[in-house]
Amino acid sequence: MVLLRYFICVLIIVLVPLAVFRKKVLSNREIVTKRYGTNLDTTNTMIGDSVSEVIRREKTIKIIKYIVTYTFLTAVAIFIIAPFYWMIITSLKSTEEVNLPDPTYFPRKIIWSNYRVAMTMSGTYFGRYMINTVIVGVFSTIGTLITTVLSAFAFARLNFKGRDILFTV
């Protein structure tokens, strides 16, 4: 389990920068050639040098910008994911592990039977809860669709007295 944990960490650490900088890294000379059609450096003038200088500086700024942006987005993503992660790992922990004074960041022993117990525990009618949810979901969607489609049609296609007043309501 420890191995799996570190594997996931390494995967994230390696994959994120790879995805970010997956573009083929070009040398300055190649960039100049690509942008301006000819390789300015071959003329060996001051212009070629300064252009490649500027492009290099631009590229550095761009990379720094990307690093800042991705760091920020990753931080927010961790903030958003954390409760989900905590919920899922807690659902797989044993009771003793949940009540430890120092929490573990990954279950020492994954206990899938928590789910079976939650669904079949006496006094818990999981099937009934599921059916209730499905009924509410399906019928409220149907009801909303019928009423809103009908009234939208009335407002859009038909002219009648008091239409504007009613629409604001």
Binding site: A82, T147, T148, N159, R163
Partner: protein, 323 residues
């Protein structure tokens, strides 16, 4: 003839919506206003008047006694203060944060879809379930946050109370602001996805020409963001501000999710209660004459406050929004 026939048809199409609206929105709204002005209201009785036993009738007289009572007795003002703090802290923070996130998301290509999916996740989950996860994460013993604080060398904090005791056996209560911080974190967490979604779709519809022109003119990034992005996004920002102001005034389920239906740590009831919590609590009280009437009065007060702030919001956005 033609016009008359069409009118009849229009009302037929509107009938389902109108009937539902009248029964479940307009009637309760009007009735709430009426009940708020009935003194000693008790819906179990009928009739009106001042008898020898005032609980005998439905209500004793018309007047402002309910309003007077909620402002002078009990902690209604405290709940109002909590609600105001939630509104005026969580709404600006979540709007600004989601704007920054949306701009950052819009500027990248790789992994954009992945981050979008991650940021949208809170929207499809249940307020109560994740609120309970937050209360577990902020637990004093064995919570994630306190563990992180310990790892970085800080002192564990008492966020939510729970069953904590000092050495003498007295319960330890968390300070108001620590509990408030947890609540605000959760509300912001919950509010982000919808705002990011709206702002990102708004950003993607902005014409690239504006940015190219600004680049040619040599405007820096900060200037571009403040002078182009924000004004062109102002319809979306105004919409989000108004709706989230209203939503934050009606905050209830997040308080119940984190602090339980007593709206506070065990034995320290109502510390984090909001106005809607008060309305709900009054509805369930066993003292009938202090129940519905007070709840209706509190609801009317909240309604007036929301109307006031929505009017200010629309006034500001009418002046400032660039359509």
């Amino acid at each position: 003839m033609e016009v008359g026939k069409k009118q009849y048809k229009a009302w037929l199409y509107l009938a389902p919506t109108l009937i539902l609206l009248i029964i479940f929105t307009i009637y309760p709204l009007i009735n709430t206003f009426i009940i708020a002005f009935k003194e000693n209201y008790n819906y179990l009785n009928i009739g009106y008047g001042k008898g020898p036993d005032s609980t005998e009738y439905e209500f004793s007289s018309w007047g402002l006694a309910n309003f007077k009572a909620i402002f002078t007795k009990g902690d209604f003002l405290q709940y109002l203060k909590t609600t105001m703090i939630i509104v005026f802290v969580s709404v600006p923070i979540s709007v600004v944060l989601s704007l920054i996130i949306a701009i950052a998301l819009n500027s990248i290509k790789a992994l954009q879809k992945f981050y979008q999916t991650v940021f949208f996740m809170p929207y499809v989950t249940n307020t109560i379930a994740i609120g309970m996860v937050f209360s577990v994460m902020f637990a004093t013993h064995g919570g994630l946050i306190n563990n992180l604080i310990k790892v970085f060398g800080g002192q564990p904090q008492n966020w939510l109370g729970g069953d904590l005791m000092d050495s003498a056996g007295n319960s330890l209560y968390p300070s108001y602001w620590k509990s408030m911080l947890v609540l605000l974190t959760y509300i912001t967490w919950n509010a982000l996805p919808f705002k990011i979604l709206i702002l990102l779709s708004g950003l993607q519809s902005i014409d690239k020409q504006y940015y190219q022109a600004a680049q040619i003119d040599g405007a820096n990034k900060m200037r571009i963001a403040l002078r182009i992005t924000v004004p062109l996004l102002s319809p979306q920002i105004a919409y989000l501000t108004i709706t989230s102001f209203i939503g934050a005034f009606k905050e209830y389920s997040s308080v119940v999710a984190i602090f339980g239906n007593q709206a506070g740590p065990k034995g320290y009831r109502r510390q984090m209660a909001t106005v809607v919590w008060y309305v709900y609590d009054r509805m369930k009280t066993s003292d009938m004459t202090k129940g519905m009437g007070y709840a209706a009065a509190a609801a009317v007060v909240l309604f007036v406050i929301i109307m006031f702030f929505t009017a200010i919001n629309s006034w500001v956005s009418n002046k400032r929004v660039h359509y």
